[in-house]
């Protein structure tokens, strides 16, 4: 494996809600090599965005450390700090909220270019902007320069957000997929664009999504991580996680997904949950937090002991008392 770009060591993030402390992210460990395509999946509120924000330095950790090229991002200084600040960019979940409505696309992209001294003078700035718009498939670029965000479709706005992130030549992008932005063809072409960025510029991506089929497609050569109530409960090679899920929660998720094939989706065996209610972060279950819903719940051990994330099969790791790596 190449040198890790980003390392999460026991990363935890708490929030105070109505005077009570909740753990939005709980003891997450993760090593991301350069140029990796990684997906984080899980139900709403499981801590995906919070994790992404901490990686992008937009939110401090409450405990644990995040390293960029081996340096703690909380204490990183000088040139290293600047390299990290520019090197890791986040593309936001909601492209409506994240672009300034009073600025043209040209202004939106010119600001970071000029501020960080990537281009000098209008001619060079414009050339670079046109190039960026071409990279994100907004062509011909001249059609877009003078437009305002509200004159673009959701998918186009998302592309502008990506182009803006690319202005500073990042090595890693955290892309938080909006659930509302569901148009299939737009999504696939956005993801293909990320794949091209990786091939051409070596840019790694953390994609945050609800859609496991999309995650498999996107992270084909990379990994999928599954989060549940703030914890990473499974991580492994994308195709293996989908074809040979190790953790009972991953199995439930996969069996629940409808397929765009009428026969397959109607014949698909479903793994039922013991309870459909998602527990509140304010009253987290003890032991394995999945135990009140787990279809293969194994009694006391699940209720009392937090299962650690350990080596399982098919190159994956899983956090479940019942999952063990086969001897081979």
């Amino acid at each position: 494996m190449s040198e890790p770009l980003i390392t999460l060591e026991h990363v935890t993030r708490t929030f105070t809600v109505k005077g009570q402390t909740i753990k939005a992210v709980d003891d997450v460990n993760l090593t991301i090599p350069q140029g990796e395509m990684l997906c984080l999946v899980g139900e709403s509120g499981c801590g995906k965005t919070t994790t992404g924000k901490m990686i992008a330095g937009l939110l401090p950790t409450s405990a644990g450390r995040i390293l960029y090229h081996g340096k703690d991002i909380a204490t990183i200084a000088g040139n290293d700090r600047k390299a990290y600040r520019l090197g890791v960019q986040m593309v936001h979940q909601d492209p409506y909220a994240s672009l300034n409505p009073t600025q043209t696309i040209y202004d939106i992209l010119a600001a970071p270019l000029q501020h960080h001294g990537f281009t000098r003078g209008e001619y060079e700035t414009k050339r670079r902007i046109c190039h960026l718009l071409e990279i994100v498939d907004l062509t011909p670029p001249d059609d877009f320069l003078e437009k305002y965000p509200h004159q673009l479709s959701g998918g186009q706005r998302q592309r502008v957000s990506v182009a803006r992130a690319l202005t500073v030549l990042p090595t890693f992008i955290v892309a938080d997929e909006a659930v509302s932005m569901v148009d299939v063809s737009i999504r696939i072409s956005l993801l293909n664009m990320f794949a091209r960025l990786k091939d051409e510029m070596g840019v790694g991506v953390l994609l945050i999504t609800h859609d496991l089929a999309l995650a498999k497609y996107f992270a084909w050569e990379g990994r999928i991580g599954v989060m549940y109530l703030g914890r990473l409960v499974e991580i492994g090679p994308a195709r293996q996680v989908v074809e040979h899920p190790q953790h009972p929660y991953t199995q439930v998720l996969l069996s629940a997904i409808p397929e765009a094939d009428p026969d397959a989706t109607r014949a698909k065996p479903r793994v039922a949950l013991r309870s459909t209610d998602m527990p509140s972060l304010l009253r987290l279950p003890t032991g394995c937090t999945f135990h009140p819903r787990c279809p293969v719940f194994a009694g006391e051990v699940c209720e009392n002991i937090v299962p650690p994330l350990e080596k399982a099969n098919w190159g994956s790791e899983a956090a479940c008392h019942l999952v063990h790596a086969n001897e081979s």
């Binding site: 709403s44 479709s153 299939v184 609800h210 498999k216 409808p258 998602m278």
Partner: protein, 348 residues
Amino acid sequence: MAEPTLSVRDLSIVYQARRGQVQAVRNISFDVERGEAVALIGESGSGKTTVGLGLMRLLPATANIIGGSIVYRRYKNGSNSASRETEVLALKGDNLRQFRWRECAMVFQSALNALNPVLRISEHFADTAKAHGYLSGYRQGTALRERSWQLLSMVRLDPERVWRSFPHELSGGMRQRVLIALALLLEPQLLILDEPTTALDILTQRNIMDVLKELRDKLGFSMLFISHDLALAAELADRVATVYAGKIIEVGDVRTIFRRPYHPYTIGLIKAVPTLTSDKSSLVSVPGSPPDLIQLPTGCKFHPRCPLADERSQQEEPALIEVEPGHHVACWHWTHAREALKAYRAET
């Protein structure tokens, strides 16, 4: 065979916008049979929601229904001939109010915000009943509660817990189920669901889909789904219609549409959805962007994005014709579109 519950013919709807007229729905015709589930699929902005709002006569003031007809047929339980036939576009006042909810109910796209935040769930049921003159008089209290609780259990909610709750105390999926129960309160024969699962989590989506299947088996109403989610259509619909630029361009039985689509756009749409079992290379996105509904392209509205477009496609818009029993397509080249697209993809 009995006549359809709903027959839409040549429905056209426009919006007045500053830049001109938005042709959101153009000459749409389709039927929803008794007890049948039909899905309208298509990309964002293609006019799906506008069709739904038009059927309910709930369009905003800037919209105009410029032509067509919507015939609704009421059936009595167990009877095979319609007891009443209504032209929905001619309904006014009380009759229109009766039609909404009693005959046809809709769960809206932005449903998660559709409940009034200051009213308890119980009050939502009471208000809906009152507004439509349902179960009036002295019996109202207990009978309404009984019926509501029955519906809440049917959508797998715990009535005891939910009844006294305010909307913000419920999760998105719970609110969505409350709305489905509420829509069914007056025993409508047609339920329109606009993106019923789009903003929800996988497990909640699964729950809603199972609930809808169960309800339909038990209560036998017809459903019209409006969604970009092809998987939802694959799982729940009997028939599927593809909408492009305000027009139905293909319609057929769910298996036919997913297995043997003829229209290049439907073929493209299905190819663009990743599935858990599909291979990476089999996925292709539909190139280009949706058309401007104010200045529509000439001829076939898909031609600027269609690899098979020729001169005829650019000049004449193909009509929706029946090419096999029950399978309608609007494309000049439907006979060889699939093979031609395969060859095209192999080349590029």
